[in-house]
Structures are given as C-alpha cells and as structure tokens.
Amino acid sequence: MRKQNVEKVILYLLLALFVIVFLFPIYWAVTTSFKSAGQIMKVPPEFFPSSWSLQNYAEVFTKHQIGTYFINSLIVSVTTTLCAIIVATFAGYGFSRFKFKGRAFWQYAIIVMRMVPGLVFIIPYYIIFQRLGILDTLFGLIIVYITAALPLAIWLFMGFFDELPTEMFEAAKIDGCSEFGTYWRIALPLIVPGIVVAAILVFLAAYNEFSLSLVLIFTDQNKTLPLGISGMIQLQKDTPFGTLAAAGTIAFIPALILALTTQKYVQAGITAGAVKG
C-alpha cells in the first residue's frame, strides 16, 4: 500500500513540474501584458502583478494596428479553411470512389508535394505574384495557404471516405441519386467529425503561418498577426515587452478557445494527421 502511494506522489509531482514548464511562459506573457512599464522593469520580477493596467492593450491598438492584423488573420484563416475543405472533400471523394486514368499519378504527386518545404516555393511565388499583380494581397496569401493545406486534407478525407461501406453508394445509385447528390447528401454528413478534425488542422496552420506571409505581404494594412508581431519586434530595438506580451496574448485567444472547446477533435486531428498522413 505505502509503495503505491509513493508512486502516486512521484507521478503527480512529475505532472506538476510539466504543468509549470508548459504553462508558465504563457502565464508570464499574459500577466506581463497587464503590467505597467515600471512593473515590467523590476528586480525581483513580480510573479503576480501588484496592479493591473490596460495600457499595453491601448498601445497595440493605437500605435500598432493589431486590430487590423487580427481581422486579416481571421479573414485569411477562415477563407482558407472553407475553401480547402470544399476542394479537399471533393478530391478525397473522387479518389476514394472512382478508378480512373491518372489516379495513381495524382495521388503520388500529392504525397510528393507534401514533402516539398515551403521555402522552395517562396521565391517562385514572389516572382510570379509580382508579375500577376497579386503580391501583397490577401487573395494571393489565401490561394497559397489553400494549396498548402490540400495534400494533408485530401489524404485524410480519402481515408474517411474509404471507411464508408460501398453498398451504401450502390443503394444511392439504384435510388436514382446523382453522384453529386450522393457526395453532398449521403457521404458528407457521415464524415462530419472528420471534417471538423481536418478544419481545425487547416485553420491552425493558416492562422499560425509566418514564412510565406513574410515574403508575400509587406504593407501593414494586409499583415496577419504573426507577421505584424514580428514587425513590432524589428521596429523598436529597445524590446517593448509590455506591448509584445499584449499582442501575443491577443493572438493566443483563438488558439485557447479552440483548445478548450474542441480539445477532443484537436487531439484526434493531430494524431490522425500524423498517423494517416
């Protein structure tokens, strides 16, 4: 009995240590965002703020355009998610349901494209987009993000559609359902949990992306959150910790909401994305 209890104490101590390691940086950024400049520059640091101020938030909204970045980020990630899911469920259904010429080639091409690092694309994107006049536009960024999301999403949806019984599709056909009707009214509703999983993965990838936006966007008005925050660091050499913390906290909110409301899907998604993809 006693040995059992000792083990339990050790396990919980280990977990407590991990909780501190994983959550303290987030806690520190959030509390720093509510501190005044004087409180931030203090030795020893205030582990719990002695007073709370909204000054850093006022500053990121007035001096920096954090509101604009936030809205741009939402527009880009929501549009990317919607379009990528529509295109990928279509393709996943096509690959799963039909045998046709070129099927193996395109499946192979999709796997290979997943392996190409984004850095290989940024230079041609920059040159091509400049010629097409879509450099520094949200449209350009969105089509790039949709394409980047497709390989994994198609692969996931192929798996989900493959699991549906073939008899169901045959029955639908006998009942006179068109192929599009079968896709829309029968197959899609059955894979809704899978759609949620894929949508979360696509949303997070677009919301968090930095390197492509760094090359494709340069005016403040079109910047997304990661790009905007990185700009705040380079702008001021005296590392404005308070405003950075406030910007980081604002950017963190959607991730937190997603983590708390859809944690089951998030965990399933990450596991499925890795194992199936």
Binding site: E7, Y12, L15, F18, V19, V21, F22, L23, F24, P25, W28, A29, T32, M41, P45, I86, V87, A88, A91, G94, R97, F98, F100, W106, M113, P117, L119, V120, F121, I122, I123, P124, Y125, Y126, I127, I128, I143, L150, E179, L204, Y207, F210, L214, P226, I229, I233, T239, L244, A245, G248, A251, F252, L258, A259, Q263, Q267, I270, T271, A274, V275
Partner: protein, 300 residues
C-alpha cells in the same frame, strides 16, 4: 448501369472523377508543381532582384557551386543538423516520459485534463511562442535569469552569446513540439494490451525491464513515425530563429531556412536562393528515404 444511353452519357461518366478532383488538381498544378519546376529553372540563372531583368542569363550550376562553397551556408547546414538532433532527442524522450505518466492507471482519471493543458504550446503560432519566450529570456528583467541568479549563478546573455542562443532556440522548439510527441506516443501506448504487462509482472519483471523489453519493441513503428515527422519539421526551423536571434550573434544561429530567405530577399540573389532551396529539398528527401529504409528494416 444502363448501356443503351449511348456515348454522351459515357463521356460524362468518364469525366465525372475529373470533375471531383479537378479543383484540387488545378490548384496543386498551378501553385505547387509549376512553382517547383520554376524554382529549379531560377536556380540555373544569375537572377538578382536588384538588377534589371535584361541582365538575367543562364549560368548552369554556378549558383549551386556558389552555395556549396559558401562558408556561412555550409555552417548553417551543420547547425541545423545539430539543432535537429538535440531537439528531436529531447522531444521524443520527454514526450515518452509524459505519455508513460499519463498512461499510468493511477493518474488515468485526470489524463484528459492534463492532455488539454499540455497541448496548448503546440497550438500557438511559433512566432507567438517565441515572443513569449523572448520575454522569459530577457537579460535583466526575465524570470529565467532571475531564477539562475537566485540559485547563485551568473546571469546569462541568452541572445548575446552563441551557446546560450543555441540552447534558447532548442528550448523553445522542445517546448512547442513535445506535446505533439506526447499525443502520438499516448496513442501508441494505448495499442499495447494491458494483460501483456500483467503477465510480465507475474513473471517477476520490473517496470524498467518491461518498458525496454516489451513496450518499446511493440511501439517501435510509432516511435519511428514520430521521429521522422519531427526531423522533417525541425530541419525546416525558421520562425523562431527570425524572431529570437535573427541568426545572431553574428551568423551563428542561421539555419538553412533563414540563410535561403536572406540570400534571396535581403541580398536579392534569388538565383542562389533557389539553388539553396533545392539543396535543402534534396537534403530533406535523403533524410526521409533513410528513415523509410530504417522503418522497413524494423519491420523485417
């Protein structure tokens, strides 16, 4: 299917799959396949964004020669490899400890809560998590240096000196990606039936022995998967370097990614940048093939 409806229906039926995969195929062709080949083409040109387009000429493999004899680029490849090795090693070890802890039946009732707390770091944008750590690593007012000084040691200039900067970059990546390893390894541990453990314990084996002799061999494919996914990802490290050190001090924390970016967009040499990107891609393919081979060997 009705045969008599004739050729019209047959054509539309044959076209049907392409209607479904069409949008995806068009996007992937225009925004992945074409740019990939265009990138290879650019890597053969002396293309510089700051020079007029009329000066662009074919230069064969000059850009590749330039990149492969370029000291800072070669140095960045070395550091990227070292970074990947340590990050992935720590990732998988810590992820395994976490997964084993959460898989223990004594805490399994709380597993769900801890899991959702632990996955927060991996949901953050690397730019955001690095920003958070930048505040933590603050030289004078940062809590990490406060802790170090409280232990009686000397404060560290985290971004001002080479070794501390490298350690800081590794810490940030380990923090952000360990939860991912934890999730996959928890899924892996759940594939091992519990009665295998029970019979091993009855036979008198201890925990450490059971882990290395029974659990590890059973989940080796999952481990190979986690390691290969993490290696691919770690080789691409870019965001946290740009935010925390911008490659500094000097060029000591430049990675393959930041070097390619800077060659192309700070020095405007997109030809050499593309050559660097293709070299980068080849390295990733080689590493992937090595891992695939290792996984296959494991299975035999």
């Amino acid at each position: 299917m009705k045969q008599e409806t004739g050729a019209v229906k047959k054509i539309s039926e044959r076209a049907l799959p392409y209607v479904f995969i069409g949008p995806a195929v068009i996007l992937i062709t225009l925004l992945a396949i074409v740019p990939l080949f265009y990138s290879i083409y650019i890597s053969l040109l002396n293309y510089n964004l700051s020079l007029p387009n009329t000066m662009i000429r074919m230069t064969g493999l000059d850009n590749y020669k330039y990149m492969l004899t370029n000291g800072p680029f070669m140095k960045s490849i070395g550091w990227t490899m070292v970074f990947t090795f340590f990050t992935v090693l720590l990732n998988v070890t810590l992820g395994m400890i976490l997964a084993l802890t959460l898989n223990n039946e004594k805490v399994s009732r709380q597993t769900k809560i801890f899991k959702s707390l632990f996955i927060l770091p991996m949901m953050l944008a690397p730019v955001v998590s690095t920003t958070m750590w930048k505040i933590m690593f603050g030289a004078i007012y940062g809590p990490i240096n406060y802790l170090i000084e409280a232990l009686g040691l000397k404060a560290v200039a985290w971004t001002g000196e080479t070794l501390p900067a490298k350690i800081a970059v590794i810490i940030i990546d380990v923090w952000g990606a360990t939860p991912f390893c934890m999730l996959i390894l928890i899924a892996a541990l759940q594939t091992v039936p519990r009665d295998i453990y029970e019979s091993a314990f009855i036979d008198g084996a201890n925990r450490v022995k059971v882990f290395f002799k029974i659990t590890l061999p059973l989940i080796r494919n999952f481990i190979a998967l986690v390691v290969s996914l993490r290696v691919m990802d770690a080789l691409k490290i870019f965001d946290s370097i740009m935010i925390l050190t911008d490659g500094g001090p000097g060029d000591t924390t430049e990675t393959m990614g930041t070097m390619i970016y800077k060659t192309a967009f700070r020095y405007m040499n997109v030809g050499a940048g593309s050559a660097g990107a293709i070299i980068f891609f080849v390295i990733i393919i080689v590493v992937t093939l090595i891992f695939l081979k290792l996984i296959r060997k494991d299975r035999q």
